[in-house]
Symmetry: C2
Subunit: 199 residues, 2 copies
């Protein structure tokens, strides 16, 4: 047996499974950094240092700080991924797609994003982290999705509405919203969202 094991020995270093372990270490470091420093002040470099990896490897795995934040908080996708899919559609269909995707993710699934909403409601550090994350997303995406001088604010109101739906349906648990299926809600909410995307 010892001979067999000897035969399978490999140089110390990267092994199968290292990638998953490294990603997990980066996500743990990222959660800690975002929680303590907020989204703006946390850096890829400091997260990499804590996780004992090269910053280039963090970017290789996670592509952007937005995406790293999203994955660290178990959001199914980052704003960039959400908006990229929405922008492929003609403008008249974007509100419905945005509403459906958000509701599918936040209000009808296991709803990982709700823990962020709950934390932000009572903890200023969590509120700052979420505020900075969303502000960064608004700055990045308003020019394409909601152009115009008040585009960032209109996109923020889209977010406010959808967060409010998640709050009323999942946290307050209003029966009239819980009883509705996703198609009903998309049909009813999309025209309101559309008012913010039209200019």
């Amino acid at each position: 047996m010892s001979k067999q094991r000897t035969g399978k020995e490999r140089p110390v270093g990267r092994r199968p499974g290292d990638s998953a372990q490294t990603k997990a270490a980066i996500l743990t470091a990222a959660r800690e950094a975002f929680s303590v420093d907020g989204f703006d002040r946390a850096t890829i470099r400091s997260i990499a240092t804590t996780a004992k990896v090269d910053p280039a490897l963090v970017m290789h795995y996670f592509k952007s700080k937005q995406n790293l934040f999203a994955q660290a908080h178990e959001l199914p996708f980052s704003p960039s991924e959400l908006f990229a899919g929405v922008l492929e559609l003609p403008s008249g269909l974007r509100a419905a797609e945005l509403t459906r995707t958000y509701l599918s993710m936040l209000a009808f699934g296991p709803a990982p994003g709700l823990s962020l909403i709950r934390a932000a409601a009572t903890n200023e550090d969590a509120a700052r982290m979420m505020r900075e994350f969303l502000s960064d997303a608004l700055l990045t995406h308003a020019s394409t999705l909601a152009p115009g001088s008040n585009g960032q604010r209109r996109l923020a109101l889209v977010g406010a509405h959808l967060i409010g739906v998640a709050f009323a349906r999942q946290i307050l648990g209003l029966d009239v919203l819980k009883e509705a299926d996703i198609d009903q809600l998309v049909n009813e909410i999309s025209p309101a969202i559309q008012t913010y995307l039209d200019i």
Copy 2:
């Protein structure tokens, strides 16, 4: 001096100031009852018993359980009062009035209602209390303000949107929303609210 005091003696019982003290006792009893029993199970009778007054006096001072709840939680007005003012207007002006009144109350003033939102986010008893209070208001007002088979849900979505604006502006503190004045926000939000009031 003792002669003067004797001259001013009155029968033991109701004195000037009793009214304010009695109201305060009722509000304290109401907060406790709503918090422990929720909105539905708390009764005017049990609140009156705790406050050591007649139930008729509670109704005399506060008119309805909705209104008692609103005053116990320092909301500037109850849904009935808000909706009564809105219903006096032609339908095309109602969304703007509702939006302006809510924002004035919740998001631009000392925002007493925010403490309810914060509590509901992390405490199931508080969430249930707010859920039952809002459900009662939806049941009462949907037929006039948002008629139709899905009127309660559309009115719930109005509430969800406005709560979301309060959350994003006051709790998250998004700069693009904080920098906007109330006229800008009313102009931008009203068309979205209007989609829920039209049928």
